[in-house]
Symmetry: C2
DNA sequence: CGTTACATTTACGTCAACGTAAGCTTACAT
DNA sequence: ATGTAAGCTTACGTTGACGTAAATGTAACG
């Protein structure tokens, strides 16, 4: 019903963040909720941005880095030169993500290996205690 | 040649971190270089740990979280119950990594899509200016 | 009309993760 | 013996990302 606009509380519940965090992000110009008198109303655009912000954080990006990246997802009513600049930045970022993916795969492999190792170790203990007396 | 032990400076160069950072990690018990008199000497084990620390940081883990995880990669001269506990923690962590990979894939897809979009937009500009006069 | 619930601004506090400066050893080269 | 280069400890400073408290506003409910 409040499909278009959401209050700050609804946002907190929906994204599991505090009101302080949302106001903080606004102060840092990561989101730009509109005002109804004093109160903030968060648009669909704010929600899309917040989603990306939280995702970015999970990947270890700083808010400042995220702010740069967010512009990539903005509307494209820009000049050609602007768009080209955007394109290059985005491509660089994509490279970063892909590299991170490779690292993640490595980490997963490592951990899996460790798990098997530990698993065998446990089996050893089981053998010691099998067929008791 | 100094294959087994490295000075702090060598570590800094090898891993691109400051001496302060290494001492800080030692204070936090993430690494435990041995001492030759006053000076620190970093072992193979320290290097392996540091590698994991830096990797963890790139994935957005706090040093405290990393400290927990490091124990998983330690030697296995432990009790069975300890090992089992370790196993469960590691498995939980593995789940986390896999979830993060899915998110990463999503992010990569999103960004790729955006790139295509921007690319088309740029093409539009090119069309406007093609075959001029 | 009072109060309860939810919102706002302002501003100081906090915690992690180091940076940075001061002052002191130790080892080696000049 | 004197730099000077590398390392050490101690301790205060900084930055990012909010937490938290105080004072205030507004809307609806009973």
């Amino acid at each position: 019903m409040t499909d278009e606009l959401m209050t700050i509380r609804q946002m907190c519940d929906a994204f599991d963040v505090t009101a302080r965090t949302l106001r903080f992000y606004e102060a840092k110009e990561l989101i730009a909720p509109i005002r109804e008198g004093q109160k903030r109303l968060f648009t669909k655009r704010d929600r899309a941005r917040l989603k990306l912000i939280l995702r970015g954080k999970r990947f270890g990006f700083s808010l400042e880095e995220i702010r740069q990246l967010l512009d990539l997802y903005d509307r494209g009513d820009q000049q050609k030169t602007q768009l080209e600049r955007t394109y290059e930045v985005a491509q660089g970022h994509l490279e970063g993500l892909k590299r991170q993916r490779e690292e993640l795969d490595d980490a997963i492999d490592d951990l899996t290996e460790q798990l098997n190792w530990v698993s065998e170790k446990i089996a050893t203990f089981d053998d010691d205690n099998s067929d008791p007396k």
